[in-house]
């Protein structure tokens, strides 16, 4: 049975690069000889809605959906989405969160408010808050924040660094390669601290 199947749920706001991160993760699993499934819901992604992608890998992966309390890791590209997806983290699972908030439209238009003490609540839930945009800027472009988060996540998964470097090189255009490799490294070292 699929007892060794790992479930990673990536969530964020349409346009933040969750799909690329999920793709890199899937390829790292595939390179490591594992079965893998990547399930994404698109269609409304470019219209600023909440998005989630689920990556599952192991000897034999069956379902492609994450249930509440079933994700080994949740990687959130934004704090509000991290709170929304908190129930997906399984007991003893990890939560990696980009320390950044994006107001959804109901908040921007004054019809709802942002959740109170989001960062504290996430910390209490065991989340690692990662200054991904700042680290990405340090690497060379804020656009690599998704790869920073992937670097942070990589510590929890155990795929060797050279596998990650290979899949990033295979997927990222050459002129952005060094920036992305650096972003990945910064994320991984932040996670190790």
């Amino acid at each position: 049975m699929s007892s060794n199947t790992k479930t990673v749920l990536l969530c964020g706001v349409g346009g933040q690069g969750t799909i690329l991160a999920a793709d890199l993760l899937a390829r790292a699993a595939e390179e490591s000889g594992l079965d893998v499934k990547v399930s994404e819901i698109h269609g409304m992604a470019q219209r600023g809605g909440a998005v989630t992608t689920v990556v599952r890998f192991g000897d034999k992966v069956q379902s492609m959906i994450a249930d509440l309390g079933s994700a080994d890791c949740v990687v959130s590209f934004e704090t509000t989405e991290a709170l929304r997806n908190l129930p997906y983290v399984k007991e003893g699972g990890s939560l990696f969160v980009n320390d950044e908030s994006i107001k959804p439209l109901p908040v921007a238009t004054g019809r709802a408010s942002m959740p109170e003490h989001a960062r504290e609540r996430l910390r209490d839930a065991g989340a690692m808050l990662i200054p991904a945009t700042e680290l990405a800027r340090k690497a060379g472009t804020t656009k690599a924040a998704n790869v920073v988060l992937l670097g942070a996540l990589s510590r929890a998964l155990g795929f060797p660094t050279d596998v990650w470097n290979r899949v990033i090189a295979a997927r990222v255009p050459e002129k952005y390669l060094d920036v992305n490799l650096e972003a990945f490294k910064l994320g991984a070292s932040f996670s190790a601290e």
Partner: protein, 576 residues
């Protein structure tokens, strides 16, 4: 091995089978299938104006001897149902495979109807892949089966098959010589004299298909004990195999016709037989009709929405995994019209003139959400125009708010045009707004007759929208820049005040995602009076400062369209 989505795998399977022609109208979750097919060598692919037309082109191409793939979302099958039911009489020339992509959970659809019922009702066999490898193999084989049984074949997917990437072994293309065409009215002219014998052919074919289904290798039994047995198909079978490790599983790869004998003997081999399916009771009822006792779940299984391992386990009485409670104060994050979207001001002004707005299918359906909240109805493709006519008929002779239909360019070509012809013919009054953003935006910016772009970039020409409208005899046709608030207001006011005429306003400006053109961002001066009017536009780049109530513009998101500045009475929103 390659990681392919179910849609990409279906395209690959069709290509490997030697399919030469692909036809479709885009619709989530099916769209990428034909896009992937169109990029392959040696194929012709086109977007048709709607699914009915696509299937008819497909039947013609099949009659002409080519192997043909046609793809559509589940509600597209409704549109294509007319030719499909009779194609199950005529049969095929070259193999004809139709993808019906369902959307349990309604991620991107107006309903979650189950396409299995179409297979059963039209007597078109249906294969139900559970992952991309099966999607490729089933599609590839379906072409040969279609020719062998002389009938179109359905491939049925759901959003979790179409949009899940799984490893796939791809193969080479088998070049198939197109079959020669010879006139055969008894097969292709479905008038009563010829249709009656074809109906008998169909009944004999159902027998042959039923016999084939008994031994079809796509139906698999996974034996894991004799207490509980579960019948399931598609993505759901993956949840069942994972979630119920002690249950034996009958995984159906062919969901019509069903392997009756095999199902009965499976039922006899277990103490209790369950059917697990989402969005309908198609399988449950079909299995019960075989005289099999379908057991009731220990706890209820949801009848609506998408299933998962957890929901299925809960129905079988397994404890739910522990997890943090849902955080109640998390605000929703619905999708919104993009910054600079040319639809925005039309909805703002429709909301100001308190119109009854009949809406349609596309990005602009988001105009129904707050703060614009400017839509009364949305039912199906093209319904905005016909429903506006219906409203006018019902409200005639009573004092009523203006009735305005709102429809996109691609949806207008899909079926709004025939609604409009009917409205003109019946002397309908009211206002029809065509939001021509030069693309089929919601599904990822595909070509359509009104932008003249084709799937494989063959030269074409744009249909002259105003020319078409005038040729219909509509006297009041005007073209308006939807970024100009005053012009939008004036056009709507004039059109809606003429209560006994039919007015058509073409709001034309390209979707902001087409060229991603940016002007310098706007900003709000510190003199902002916090009146909140610009906030009511619902632009994602504008927010309300929580402490001062003043407007703020996000410089990274603002594309400099200047829509909001037109609503700032004091001129406090200025461009850099």
């Amino acid at each position: 091995m390659e990681l392919l989505s179910g849609n990409e795998a279906i395209a690959q399977g069709a290509w490997e089978a030697g399919a030469r022609i692909g036809v479709a109208y885009p619709g989530t979750p099916s769209t990428e299938t034909l896009e992937a097919f169109a990029k392959k060598d040696g194929v012709y692919a086109e977007w048709c104006v709607n699914e009915k037309v696509a299937v008819e082109v497909g039947i013609g191409a099949s009659a002409g001897g080519a192997r043909v793939l046609s793809t559509m979302k589940h509600v597209g099958v409704n549109v294509a149902a007319d030719p499909l039911f009779t194609a199950a009489y005529t049969g095929v020339g070259g193999g004809f495979v139709v993808l019906a992509a369902d959307d349990p959970g309604m991620y991107s659809s107006q309903n979650e109807q189950d396409s299995h019922y179409y297979a059963c009702a039209a007597h078109i066999p249906m294969l139900d892949p559970a992952d991309s490898a099966e999607a490729l193999a089933f599609t590839r084989d379906a072409f040969e089966l279609s020719e062998r049984f002389d009938v179109p074949f359905f491939i049925r997917s759901s959003v979790r098959v179409s949009h899940t990437k799984t490893p796939v072994e791809v193969g080479p293309r088998k070049e198939i010589e197109p079959a020669p065409y010879e006139s055969n009215p008894a097969k292709w002219v479905m008038m009563p004299a010829f249709a009656k014998p074809r109906r008998k052919v169909q009944l004999e074919r159902i027998e042959a298909l039923s016999a084939w289904a008994e031994t079809c290798s796509y139906n698999q039994v996974v034996r894991r004990g004799d207490k509980a047995g579960v019948v399931c198909a598609g993505a759901v079978s993956q949840h069942v195999l994972e979630g119920l490790p002690d249950a034996s599983v009958f995984k159906l790869g062919c969901t019509w016709p069903l392997p009756k004998k095999a199902l009965r003997s499976f039922a006899e081999s277990v103490d209790a037989l369950y059917v697990v399916e989402e969005a309908s009771r198609y399988l449950t009822d079909a299995v019960s009709a075989l005289g099999i006792d379908v057991a009731t779940f220990p706890a209820p299984l949801p009848r609506d929405g998408e299933l998962s391992v957890g929901l299925i386990r809960a129905a079988f009485g397994y404890p739910k995994p522990a997890h943090a409670p849902a955080q109640k104060d998390v605000p929703g994050r619905p999708p919104a019209l993009c910054p600079g979207c040319p639809h925005r001001l039309v909805f703002k002004e429709l909301s100001r003139c308190k119109a009854i707005v009949t809406g349609d299918i596309g990005c602009y359906t988001l105009g129904a959400l707050p703060p614009l909240s400017a839509m009364d109805t949305c039912v199906d493709m093209g319904a905005s125009v016909s429903m506006a006519h219906g409203f006018e008929l019902a409200l005639a002779g009573r004092e009523h708010r203006p009735v305005v239909a709102v429809i996109g360019d691609s949806t207008f070509a899909h079926s709004g045009l025939s609604s409009l012809i009917s409205m003109v013919y019946n002397k309908g009054a009211g206002t029809v707004c065509i939001l021509d953003n030069r693309t089929t935006a919601m599904t990822g910016r595909q070509g359509n007759p009104f932008n003249g772009e084709t799937l494989q970039h063959r030269p074409s020409r744009e249909l002259d929208m105003e020319g078409v409208l005038k040729a219909l005899g509509i006297e009041d046709v005007r073209t308006v820049d939807p970024h100009d608030a005053r012009a939008v207001r004036r056009a709507l006011k004039e059109a809606t005040s003429a209560t006994d005429t039919l007015s058509v306003i073409v709001f034309r400006a390209p979707c902001v995602l087409l060229e991603r053109h940016r002007e310098p961002a706007f900003e709000v001066s510190s003199q902002c009076t916090a009146c909140g009017v610009c906030i009511t536009l619902g632009c994602p780049a504008i927010s309300k400062d929580e402490s001062t109530g003043q407007a703020l513009i996000d410089r990274d998101m603002c594309i400099g369209c200047g829509q909001c500045a037109q609503y700032c009475a004091r001129g406090f929103i200025v461009q850099d």
